[in-house]
């Protein structure tokens, strides 16, 4: 069965560029498109943004709730904890 894509759009601002770098590191299947004023990221079935990776890129502690400041839109179910923000289709399962 073909897996549907989840997607995420972030504003084209400095903070978001670090988040996109972290997404690329942690989600090898993610594709990034640069559109007017925003970046659109798609990935098959699941996409995770990890606090640890983003914090390392930014050089400061980053809280997944800060995603609120740069998020434009998304497609998928959401789960957010202290450590990560996840988009997924299907039943939620914790993954490493």
């Amino acid at each position: 069965m073909m897996v549907d894509n989840v997607f995420l759009a972030l504003q084209s601002v400095d903070e978001a560029r670090y988040i996109v770098e972290a997404i690329e590191d942690d989600n090898p299947e993610a594709k990034i498109e640069y559109q007017p004023a925003m970046m659109r990221i798609t990935a098959p079935g699941r996409l995770t943004i990890k606090r640890s990776t983003v914090s390392e890129k930014m050089g400061r502690d980053w809280d997944p709730q800060e995603l609120q400041l740069v998020l434009v839109t998304f497609g998928g179910n959401v789960d957010e904890t202290d450590d990560e923000f996840t988009l997924y289709w299907g039943e939620y399962s914790k993954q490493d």
Partner: protein, 506 residues
């Protein structure tokens, strides 16, 4: 045991602040959350996936406001309006302020109501946050666009117009319908169908359009609002999944609401389709492309995911699929026909735009629509710009003039009719007729602008009477863009053409 609570614990402690009432029964305290037939076994199963609590809400919203106002101030100080791609672009903003901003306010009212009337505290808190967001959106939009009101026409009486002018009854009636439904239906109408399924089709045309056409201020308020939208989408999806998971009897009720509200939203968006393809001088993508990416692809994935609950995609998607090659052109035809009673300008696209439309709509534009536009352009050259002088027949349900065609013959106007208590009711589509037939008592109450004019409730019998009642500055706010004060002002800003009259003297 750690000192600091983690996000899940914080969310639990800071949103579950309700109690079982004893002086009054819970049913008396929450009188509206049972009559729609939605069965809820356990309100505590409600969880906001963002796990947003009020303290972080204030913190992040405060940051968003600071960013936004810094840019709005800079935009005004630097006369940002002079950097637009073309003066025609302003009409997209007029449609936004007249048609969309008042909906933000209506959403504020609707979510405030739900924030009081849903029994579960988790749901109430999420609705209260959204209610505040929507009020913020209305305020920041009015504030931002007020800069344009200093320089151009068509902005000054937008709330008054929203309540009276014919094309604005389309979005207004959508929200009137949603807000007079019960709290659960409102969640599906606005939270799910509008915010989740259709929001990108509103957002992409306006915000990417603004970015493409040099409108920094709209990009900024758009993104500031849109960052809240992600939370709203989650709330809408969560509300729907909550209903589906609580009881199997809820599934057919939710399905009917999804069918109804996806269609209602789709019809409202037909105005946006016309804006996107015709009002934006530079277009990032066509309506058809946006529909394919954001509805067919992303919406398709969503409905695949919902199949496990027994939910199928909304009805009439085959109509939308066939209509995506026609919708924007047919609605632009309406706005062009009736530019006299409209508080914005329309025009015949130039050759570059016509060619772009041919390229984006290779199967339909040259066959059905280009000949019409070229003929109107010829009439205009002869000094006889076509204004349709007789009022249109409106769909009883979506309130749009009956401009839509049959899907097997795109030259044949689509007529549907129902009889109810000795009166006839007319519709533009099967989707609109279905909604009426299910609840005719509700929709016989529609305030149809054309009929109201004929009943004598709109200032008088002539066009001048009605436009006065609308509070238009006739000759300034309405008619074609070519020859308008807006065009003269824009040309002056670009250092070409005659110096226009001062706007304050208009």
């Amino acid at each position: 045991m750690s000192k600091r609570l983690n996000l899940k614990e914080r969310y639990k402690h800071m949103t579950r602040l309700g109690w079982e009432t004893t002086y009054q029964s819970m049913d008396d305290v929450f009188p509206y959350d049972t009559y729609e037939g939605i069965k809820v076994k356990d309100w505590d199963a409600w969880e906001d996936p963002f796990r947003m609590t009020m303290d972080s809400y204030w913190k992040y919203q405060g940051e968003k406001e600071k960013k936004l106002y810094a840019i709005i101030d800079a935009f005004a100080q630097n006369n940002g309006h002079t950097n637009l791609s073309d003066g025609r672009y302003l009409n997209a903003l007029k449609l936004f302020l007249q048609g969309v901003t008042p909906l933000e306010y209506q959403a504020h009212r609707g979510f405030a109501h739900n924030g009081r009337h849903m029994r579960g505290e988790g749901a109430r808190v999420a609705c209260q946050m959204q209610s505040l967001d929507e009020l913020r959106h209305a305020q920041t939009q009015i504030h931002t666009i007020s800069h344009y009101n200093k320089h151009f026409n068509g902005f000054h009486e937008f709330p008054h117009w929203h309540d009276r002018v014919w094309y604005l009854s389309v979005p207004k009636s959508f929200f009137d319908d949603a807000r007079t439904a019960g709290p659960f239906e409102f969640m599906i109408a606005v939270g799910f169908s509008f915010e989740y399924v259709l929001t990108n089709l509103l957002f992409v045309p306006f915000m990417s359009g603004a970015a493409f056409n040099g409108d920094l201020s709209t990009v900024t308020f758009g993104f500031s609002a849109q960052s809240d939208e992600a939370r709203h989408m989650t709330l809408g999806l969560e509300a729907m999944k909550f209903m589906l998971e609580q009881h199997e009897d809820n599934v057919p009720i939710v399905q009917r609401w999804i069918d109804k509200w996806t269609w209602r939203g789709y019809k409202v968006l037909s105005l946006i389709a016309a804006m996107q393809d015709y009002m934006l001088p530079e277009s990032p993508m066509s309506w058809k492309e946006a529909w394919e990416v954001y509805f067919e692809e992303n919406g398709g994935a969503l409905f695949n995911d919902l199949a496990r609950y027994g939910i199928r995609p909304p009805k009439y998607l085959e109509v939308c699929a066939a209509e995506k090659d026609h919708l924007s052109h047919q609605v632009w035809g309406v706005l062009y026909n009736y530019a006299a009673p409209a508080a914005m300008h329309t025009w015949i696209p130039d050759d570059r735009k016509l060619d772009w439309l041919s390229e984006k709509y290779p199967d339909t534009f040259d066959k059905y629509y280009r000949p019409r536009f070229l003929h109107w352009r010829e009439m205009e050259k002869q000094g006889k710009r076509f204004y349709n002088g007789s009022l249109p027949m409106l769909c009883q349900l979506c309130q749009i003039p009956m401009a839509f065609t049959e899907m097997d013959d795109f030259t044949q106007t689509c007529f549907r009719t129902s009889e109810y208590k000795d009166d006839k009711y007319h519709f533009c589509s099967d989707g609109c007729k279905d909604i009426f037939d299910y609840e005719p008592e509700k929709y016989v109450q529609a305030w149809l602008p054309v009929h109201q004019i004929y009943q004598g409730n709109c200032g008088g019998p002539t066009l001048d009477d009605v436009l006065k009642w609308y509070q238009f500055n006739v000759g300034s706010d309405n008619f074609d863009y070519v020859g308008s004060e807006d065009e003269a002002r824009w040309n002056d800003l670009q250092g070409k053409g005659e110096k226009p009259a001062d706007k304050s003297a208009a």
